[in-house]
């Protein structure tokens, strides 16, 4: 496969009595290659060794990756099924007792059957995640539809990648997170990066990012904060949170006005240009500046650099996607590439930084309320028929589409949904408007949670099943490039823990649906069925056999058959996936954030990650090194703002919105806008910033607006002890 200039032939150090198992990181979409060190006497994972031979990351890892191995044999692992008999203890860690698998399964089957008999099939729901293999993601979708027969399945990608998916589908007719491989990134001439704190959230992209500047190229960063990448950017567009679409329209207008539009490309390969051109005319640098708070000169300079660059890549992440116009933001920034024709060739294109390890693969194969394997639509009879053939059910048996992740909690509150099977996710920390979400979870008649640690969400469960970490199972994931890669098993599951796919097969058998599941005895069996189920879909994995993945250092989808090497670069033939083969340039009217600052709530609250933690922190908060580096959340405040509120560095203050409040330490920094405050979201219970965030959903992706709402700060009176 491609070996670029960063690749060096290096031999690994193998200590006596140790074996190295090649695999990838447990966490983000970078999926850095790593070797797990396994002690041959104990057969336990004891450490990590770089994987210099992985072409994307050449041995590099962030501190999460370096310490990821510490999850496997961690003291906090759940080793046996847990049952809680006293429902009044829901929402706490209390009252769980150890049980046998048989007792736990019996109870689950009894409760599930009772609920479905009394309230119908759809009274059960499945809430899953994409920090697990394609095989598990695929089987979870099948389990919900075939074993439980419920329409209500959705997943945490709604809080992560759904806006990118919606935007790409609209612009290109296909949703592959990156139109080009990461090994192209450092060779481009301009990176336009919007709403991505790349250095903290996808750190191992940074050696490529910096190399663009080292070669004399440019980096443009759009972010309300001066993140480590913004600090060194050639242009930092420091916009108000939630105003991206105005900026995208403003830049597009300048690109057109200044003659950077590629007429030939537009005419031959796109629709929608004229209409869009008219719409963005209004977005002069001055008007754009008024809406976004970015100086007009900077907007002009950014457009000029992007326009002039022979090759350029537009990149973005949750900053622009976690808004109630996230899909429009994605299409808005994607317009830049379509209007200038900087797409469909090496070193140019569009990419999103996928958040979760399998954020790409996990959204393609049927965990989403309206999707079936291979990116098929559950509302399309032909698609349903194709999948039914593989699943050996009739189209009549296929449930209807369900609702999105946040909307499932609304249905729990209304008692439409009465039972929940939660896996691979921690919505009690990661969902927005948590006071509501936590009360909805409490309101359930029965909740099953499968996890390897007792997460904040597991605290709401009646039964907890011990699942395995990524290192105790095998399967494929699809990284942020759209490259299907292989996760390998380095250790046997500890205690009585089992992989989620095995749990689902065993549960299905007990639910009387064994004939659809029992033959799936290994992850490989599932892989083979899943490839077949994806065959002929947009996200066609049929040709991506484990063997080929190993030989080729991964396979980029689509990969249709045995001889297909896969598709590292999308659209090289300038054919997009809409029926007429053209891409869509989208005319997108600007909308402000759902909740704008006012007198009572004058500040803009935005949230995000730190380099030391992953998502809800359920995993990383337990790792000593990471906890030492970032033990608690804080609120970033500009010194001038802090002065107005008379607040000192490290003082504890109350931050509140219309939905909730929390106490945080103040971190004073000039690296943020004066009208904006920032809090990282990795923390549980009363420290969760999502107690404050707003559940304004994008009309297409149903993504909540995590990135912008109105807030207020207040000093905390310290009551003197009498």
């Amino acid at each position: 496969m491609q070996r670029d200039k960063f690749f060096k032939e290096v031999e690994n150090v193998i200590h006596p009595n140790e074996t190295l198992v090649k695999t990838h990181c447990a966490y983000c979409g970078m999926q850095c290659g790593m070797n797990l060190r396994v002690n041959r006497a104990t057969n336990k994972i004891i450490g990590v060794e770089p994987r210099y031979d992985w072409p994307v990351t050449v041995g590099k890892m962030c501190p999460k990756g370096v310490t990821a191995y510490q999850q496997t044999n961690h003291d906090d692992r759940i080793l046996k099924p847990l049952i809680r008999d006293d429902a009044s203890l829901k929402g706490t860690k209390e009252g769980f007792r150890e049980a046998s698998w048989n007792e736990a399964y019996d109870l689950i089957v009894k409760k599930f059957s009772e609920l479905q008999n009394k309230y119908g099939k759809d009274s059960l729901s499945v809430f899953s995640g994409v920090s697990m293999t394609n095989e598990k993601c695929y089987l979870t979708g099948k389990f919900a539809r075939v074993a439980l027969g419920t329409r209500y399945i959705d997943y945490n990608g709604r809080f992560c990648m759904s806006s990118a998916a919606g935007g790409f589908l609209r612009s290109f007719g296909v949703d592959r997170g990156s139109t080009l491989p990461w090994t192209d990134i450092h060779e481009t001439d301009c990176l336009f990066i919007a709403g991505s704190n790349t250095a903290e959230c996808h750190p191992t992209s940074m050696f490529r990012v910096w190399n663009v500047q080292e070669r004399g190229g440019y980096i443009i960063v759009v972010d309300p904060r001066e993140t480590p990448i913004a600090r060194r950017a050639d242009v930092h567009l420091d916009l108000k949170p939630g105003t991206d679409l105005a900026l995208a329209n403003g830049i597009l207008n300048l690109l057109i006005q200044k003659g950077y539009a590629d007429k030939e490309f537009i005419n031959n390969h796109t629709n929608g240009f004229e209409e869009t051109k008219e719409l963005v005319k209004e977005f002069t640098p001055e008007y754009t500046s008024e809406l976004t708070g970015v100086a007009p000169e900077k907007i002009i300079r950014a457009a000029e650099i992007y326009g002039k660059a022979p090759n350029a890549v537009v990149m973005f992440a949750r900053g622009i996607e976690q808004q109630h116009k996230g899909v429009d933001n994605v299409s808005g920034y994607t317009n830049m590439a379509l209007v200038t024709g900087k797409i469909g060739r090496p070193k140019s294109g569009v990419a999103t930084f996928t958040g979760q390890g399998n954020g790409q693969g996990g959204r393609e194969h049927g965990q989403k309320a309206d999707l079936l394997p291979g990116y098929r639509k559950i509302t399309n009879p032909k698609h349903v028929e194709e999948v039914c053939k593989v699943w050996k059910i009739t189209p009549e048996e296929m449930p209807q589409p369900g609702v999105s992740a946040y909307e499932m909690f609304e249905l729990m509150e209304q008692k439409t949904i009465r039972g929940l099977y939660l896996l691979c996710s921690n919505p009690a920390v990661s969902a927005p408007n948590l006071n509501f979400v936590r009360s909805a979870m409490k309101n359930l008649d029965f909740m099953l949670c499968s996890d390897f640690y007792l997460s904040e969400s597991a605290e709401f469960a009646d039964v907890i099943l011990p699942s395995v970490t990524w290192s105790e199972d095998e399967g494929t994931v699809t990284n942020l490039e759209g490259r299907i890669i292989k996760i390998n098993k380095a250790q046997e599951p500890i205690g009585e823990s089992k992989p989620d796919w095995q749990i689902q097969v065993e549960l299905a058998e007990r639910l009387g649906r064994g004939k659809y599941f029992s033959y799936l005895k290994t992850a490989k069996d599932i892989a083979d069925e899943f490839r077949l189920a994806s065959k002929g879909g947009y996200a066609d994995y049929y040709g991506a056999t484990w063997d080929k993945i190993d030989k080729q250092d991964g396979v980029f989808w689509p990969c249709k058959d045995e001889n297909d090497k896969g598709t590292p670069h999308m659209f090289l033939d300038k054919k997009f996936y809409h029926a007429d083969g053209k891409a869509k340039i989208c005319a997108l009217p600007y909308r402000p954030p759902a909740e704008e600052p006012d007198e009572k709530y004058p500040l803009r609250l935005t949230t995000g990650r730190v380099v030391y933690h992953y998502l809800s922190g359920n995993q990383t908060r337990r790792i000593q090194f990471l906890r030492d580096m970032c033990p608690e959340p804080y609120v970033e405040v500009h010194p001038e703002t802090a002065k107005i509120y008379n607040m000192e560095h490290e003082e504890r203050v109350r931050l509140f919105t219309r939905r909730g409040e929390a106490i945080y330490k103040v971190k004073i920094t000039e690296a943020i806008r004066k009208d904006t405050v920032f809090v990282p979201y990795h923390f549980g219970h009363e420290q969760s910033i999502n107690l404050l965030t707003i559940a304004a959903l994008d009309p297409i992706s149903r993504m909540p607006e995590y990135k912008a709402c109105a807030a207020q700060l207040e000093k905390v009176e310290i009551k003197k002890v009498q």
Partner: protein, 186 residues
């Protein structure tokens, strides 16, 4: 081929992966041995690693009354020998960069040994292996020469062009500001 640790301070993103990885080297007893500083945390997000520079004539070793700090044939200045270190802490004061750390429980100095387990065979040390931003690199002298040329030495930012704090070092450092000398592509 002899390789050296090379630091390009401008690149650091403060992830502290170098520190996490330091614990992974055999013989490091899972303790990290270097430092990453926030340069001016209330102002911006600039950070930089402070690594042992493996001085050619190291003050730490010179100051040691017990000859506990040995210099490896590769030039790496090793951690104190357990059987020789008397716990006087002279080295922690002598080092101009404050590198050696002290374990009060074991009454023993410990410091970066440049992952001698690895670097003796020219395998990159853990910090440079994982550093996501290429702040820490493991390069041949020729590659370092090329870096010098690329980064326009006249801007005075190449550390070997300014007087040393403590004599010549085996580790080569490139101070922040190097990008100022780069010619833009367009």
């Amino acid at each position: 081929m002899k390789k050296r640790l090379y630091l390009e301070l401008e690149n650091c993103i403060g992830c502290r992966s170098c520190l996490a990885a330091c614990t992974q080297c055999g013989g490091h007893e899972e303790r990290n041995r270097n430092y990453v500083y926030d340069v001016n945390p209330m102002v911006n997000r600039q950070t930089m690693p402070l690594m042992c520079l493996h001085c050619v004539n190291p003050a730490c070793a010179r100051s040691c009354p017990a000859q506990a700090i040995q210099i490896h044939e590769t030039g790496a200045v090793l951690s104190a020998l357990v059987e020789k270190c008397i716990g006087c802490q002279n080295c922690t004061i002598a080092c101009p960069y404050g590198i050696p750390k002290f374990d009060t429980e074991q009454n023993l100095m410990y410091k970066c040994d440049l992952c001698i387990d690895r670097t003796k065979d020219s395998i990159p040390p853990m910090c440079a292996s994982v550093c996501p931003s290429n702040t820490l690199q493991w390069l041949t002298d020729e590659e370092i020469e090329n870096k010098k040329k690329q980064f326009n030495l006249d801007n005075g930012k190449w550390v070997t062009s300014i007087p040393y704090l403590e004599g010549e070092t085996n580790v080569k450092v490139n101070l922040p500001g190097i990008l100022q000398g780069i010619t833009k592509l367009f």
